[in-house]
């Protein structure tokens, strides 16, 4: 109470700042982060609109609901009272049209909502490449809460599921069915799992992990058509090589695209996604776009225009809040990082790691004897500094890796201080000296690792 009245005094009466109504379409991580930060920075009125669910939930946790690790309510990062307490209005509804001249949203049911500023955070839709039968029943992606409901509905008595696409979501879906003892086949166009992104060894490790779990992985196999059972539902798929696989569910996980179809009647400029400048402004004043649905007009070097991942969504949400609250700041996603989990193997990446490395990049690659953990450190051989880390089954410290990459740290320094990056739980086997031995072998140097796993050392390094 006291705090908000102090705020009122300071910001409303003295500064005479006018309160705006900010509408946010989409209650995913981007939209919600934007709302939270706008509230932190201002007293504007905020409405978050979603057609999907009443409350924000963690989309990345959908799989855990299906697998029985969590209930839906456990995936909500904030308790339901949070929104009212922080004066963030939540509205359930589907925005059919945006009237950009009158600054009005038109809902499916016909009602309207006026806004002063609008943030589009509408996320993605699963890709469909014009396969025959792609719109049949029992064919779904894994993106929304509704997709989860569909998976749940069709799992009853399901004899086999076929998943199309070799990315992160495909494997998540496979793990989901697998957890319910439903046989799964994954069709992957490439020679090896996710090898468009992962270097060869890591990709091979994922192949092995999939097979270790007895999931039917079909490499170099593509979907040709989904067969209609006569009642408008899928009953089988036929692959490009002519195999017919009977199944009661088809998962389409060949990537996602920005969810922008509902904008076709507006004059907001789009390409793959909604085009935005570095302040996340679209071509129409007072309309911003963030997260999966947005596309950078001029992406930073080494980055893509559309980056449909959790972390960039969160960063854009924060950035847009600053821009709307008159503290202009350019969107800067920093050093690339991402993470995932392939069945039982965790994966983390920092910096520049590519399936096809540029010539100057050289890898130090260590793999444990069981082939389920690996460390790859990539450095620029000409200039001698580190550019990226790719970790499988091993945890590295984000801030340390980021600092090394940002400061173009010499690979020798990284090797000597490698323990600073270790984020594995206590008592885990150390592997740093093995990694350095590999570097020594391929460089002819004779470095050794300083023992410095302790937080005190890490803290001193981060503050240096």
């Amino acid at each position: 109470m006291l705090r908000s009245s102090g705020f009122f005094l300071k910001n409303v009466l003295l500064k005479k700042e006018k309160n705006m109504h900010i509408a946010i379409i989409g209650n995913g991580i981007s939209g919600i982060t934007a709302a939270r930060f706008i509230r932190k920075l201002s007293d504007h009125e905020i409405t978050v609109i979603s057609a999907e669910t009443d409350y924000f939930f963690s989309r990345t946790a959908l799989m855990y609901i299906y697998m029985g690790h969590m209930r839906f309510e456990d995936t909500k990062p904030y308790e339901d009272w949070f929104w009212e307490k922080n004066r963030i209005d939540l509205k359930r509804g589907y925005v059919e049209r945006i009237n950009t001249t009158e600054k009005k949203l038109v809902f499916k049911q016909g009602e309207t909502l006026a806004y002063d500023k609008l943030i589009l955070a509408t996320g993605s839709v699963p890709n469909k490449f014009g396969w025959p039968g792609q719109d049949l029943k029992r064919v779904h992606g894994l993106y929304s809460y509704q997709d989860l409901e569909a998976m749940e509905k069709y799992s009853d008595g399901l004899q086999r599921a076929v998943i199309v696409g070799g990315g992160l979501i495909g494997l998540e879906m496979a793990e989901m069915f697998h957890s319910r003892h439903i046989p799964v086949t994954i069709l992957v166009r490439e020679k090896s799992y996710w090898n468009s992104v992962m270097p060869t060894e890591e990709s091979a490790m994922i192949n092995r992990e999939i097979m270790r779990h007895h999931i039917d992985l079909q490499l170099e196999e593509e979907l040709d058509e989904i067969v209609d059972d006569g009642n408008g539902a899928a009953c089988a798929v036929i692959t490009k090589s002519g195999k017919r696989i009977d199944c009661g569910f088809v998962g389409l996980t060949a990537g996602v695209s920005p969810n922008i179809k509902f904008l076709s009647k507006t004059d907001i400029e789009t390409k793959r996604g909604i085009l935005v400048n570095e302040h996340l402004e679209t071509s129409i004043p007072d309309i911003y776009a963030i997260g999966d649905c947005s596309e950078q007009r001029t992406p930073k070097e080494g980055r893509r225009g559309v980056e449909a991942i959790w972390y960039t969504g969160r960063m854009m949400g924060e950035t847009v809040a600053y821009n709307i609250c008159e503290k202009p700041v350019a969107y800067d996603p920093g050093i690339w990082f991402n993470s995932a989990k392939f069945l039982d193997i965790e994966y983390q990446v920092y910096g520049d790691v590519r399936a096809d490395q540029p010539e100057a990049h050289r890898s130090i690659y260590w793999e444990d004897t069981e082939g389920r953990k690996s460390v790859r450190i990539i450095y620029d051989e000409d200039r001698g500094y580190v550019v990226g880390f790719n970790l499988m089954g091993v945890r590295f410290r984000h801030e340390v890796c980021e600092k090394w990459i940002k400061e173009k740290t010499k690979i020798e320094d990284v090797m000597k201080n490698l323990e600073l990056a270790n984020f594995d739980p206590e008592f885990y086997k150390k592997y740093e000296s093995d990694v350095v031995a590999i570097y020594n072998k391929q460089s002819g140097k004779n470095l050794s690792v300083k023992p410095q796993r302790s937080w005190n050392k890490v803290f001193a390094f981060l503050r240096s």
Binding site: T185, R212, G242, Q348, R395
Partner: protein, 522 residues
């Protein structure tokens, strides 16, 4: 023409339900329990050592084989599939049945041990208690008490389910070592050693059970017993004091309260092993946290007052008296000053707004004034130590730690007692929060807010709330079990000790890439 494809691979080599070996294992364990039931209902023919040891062996083997099949047939990794679907682990019918059975068992154990066959003063044991006589005779040369029977079953539970837990988390060395530790301390220090000491004519004493969890440590009969027992008794007394005032604060400073709560303590041991299937049932809401803080610190105040009274009466043989006006007021003023001092000194670190701080100070001052007025008008403000003591024993010692603490596992999670009632946890928690190197660090911006950490936190900490904003987790209640870090799919959490940032270990917003000096969390 398309050919029909039939996959050669199985979906999931582990069968969806129990396999035949598991059924046999369950049956073996069941037979072991059946022997105990037969003994309970007075079947005299099985009252001998063969039947007892067979029963214990069957229960342990059954559990071990069952878990072996459950986990070793699957690749190592997190095994939480179907946790929220199974009746037993999702507050379904089986959970309620188990809850009622456990609660009932504790009620009988604490207040009606005669129904378990306890012989009493001169009578011989019968029933279930008598069933344990052979082991008791072997260990301490005396017939079993209901507590001996309970202690044996308790230890068997920690050992059996400890094996299960190790198999389940065999990929995680922290979990494996920690579990071996609780099994070791339960078997050696909590069970065998005290019993064997009795055989050697030494007083019953558990080295790992310290005040205030061991609330009767300062009771007159315990002090007398120790002081009458020669050098060994004196050593035990001094060790007990050292535990409370030196060893425990030191270890907690270096490693956090986990050194005790999830590595040594018997209550923690049972929660971590037998209670593991219920860890996700703890309430994560803010409301629950508020209730928790009032309750657990209330118990700490209760046990402190009670103990001060008991010690006072020990030294002033006038047993009834206690806590006269000046003492009560003195104590309260001292306590209030200490709390205000701590809070004031750490205001920045614990992130208290001025508002909150003044509310706390106001409440403390109000209580002091109120008590002073009461003391003034009643003239002779006396709290009877004997009364405090018997109420504490009944309410906290028996009803809370036993009946509710374990009986409610299947409904409120495995750490109900540790979270809401244990004064030891409260004391170690205060130190952990304000004066310990321990914290859980968050790995930069890698959190995806999935909620596995919060869900599987047995202490009901909303770990995600911290992780998603890149803040370290520094919570009084954290027992450092490490499960949040284990279940995290993105490698975000790590239990760490460090001294360099003792006063700033809760600094927030490391995850955020946009530098703004005055950003604060809602």
């Amino acid at each position: 023409m398309s050919q029909v494809y039939k996959s050669m691979s199985l979906a999931n080599p582990a069968p969806p339900f129990t396999d035949i070996i598991q059924k046999i294992a369950a049956a073996l364990g069941g037979v072991g329990l059946l022997f105990m039931l037969l003994a309970l209902f007075g079947n005299g023919s099985i009252q001998n050592s063969t039947w007892l040891y067979t029963a214990l062996a069957l229960i342990m083997t059954g559990t071990a084989v069952f878990s072996w099949r459950a986990y070793m047939t699957k690749p190592e990794g997190i095994k939480n599939n179907g946790v929220w679907f199974a009746s037993l682990s999702s507050k379904g019918l089986w959970a309620w049945i188990l809850g009622v059975v456990l609660t009932g068992f504790y009620v009988v154990l604490y207040w009606y041990p005669q129904y378990l066959g306890l012989g009493g003063k001169d009578a011989v044991n019968t029933g279930l208690v008598a069933f344990f006589d052979p082991l008791s005779m072997a260990l301490k040369g005396k017939p079993a008490s209901e507590w001996f029977m309970y202690g044996t079953l308790y230890t068997v539970a920690i050992l059996s389910f400890g094996i299960k837990f190790i198999l389940k988390y065999r990929h995680n060395k922290y979990q494996v070592i920690r579990t071996i530790s609780v099994m070791f301390f339960q078997l050696g220090f909590a069970f065998l050693l005290p019993e064997i000491m009795q055989k050697l004519n030494q007083p019953y004493y558990s080295f790992t059970n310290m005040w205030p969890l061991n609330y009767y440590f300062f009771y007159d009969w315990n002090l007398t017993k120790l002081l009458d027992a020669g050098n060994m008794g004196l050593f035990m007394l001094l060790f007990g004091l050292a535990m409370v005032f030196i060893i425990s604060p030191t270890l907690t400073f270096f490693y956090g309260k986990r050194w005790y709560c999830s590595w040594v303590c018997g209550c923690g041991g049972l929660a971590e092993t037998a209670g593991d299937p219920f860890r996700h049932l703890s309430d994560k809401s803010l409301k629950a946290w508020q209730i928790e803080r009032w309750m657990i610190h209330g118990v700490l105040v209760f046990v402190t007052l009670m103990t001060v009274g008991v010690v006072y009466s020990y030294f002033n043989s006038d047993r009834d008296l206690l806590l006269t006006k000046p003492i009560v007021i003195g104590l309260i003023v001292l306590l209030g000053a200490t709390v205000i001092g701590i809070v004031q000194a750490n205001r920045k670190e614990i992130n208290l707004s001025k508002n909150k701080l003044s509310t706390i100070i106001f409440i403390i001052v109000a209580i002091i004034i109120l008590l002073t007025i009461i003391a003034y008008f009643t003239g002779n403000f006396v709290i009877n130590a004997g009364m405090l003591r018997s109420w504490y024993g009944f309410l906290i010692g028996a009803a809370f730690s036993g009946v509710v603490g374990v009986g409610f596992y299947p409904l409120m999670g495995s750490r109900v007692w540790c979270r809401f009632g244990c004064p030891m946890a409260a004391l170690l928690g205060l130190q952990q929060k304000f004066f310990s190197r321990f914290r859980i660090t968050t790995n930069g911006g890698q959190c995806i807010s999935c909620g596995n950490c919060s869900t599987y936190c047995e202490m009901g900490i909303d770990v995600r709330a911290y992780a998603q904003k890149g803040q370290n987790i520094v919570r009084a209640s954290c027992v450092g079990c490490g499960i949040c870090a284990a279940v995290c799919p993105r490698g975000v959490l790590k239990l760490e000790n460090g001294s360099v940032d003792l006063r700033s270990k809760t600094t927030e917003l490391k995850a955020i890439h946009i530098a703004e000096g005055d950003v604060r969390i809602l």
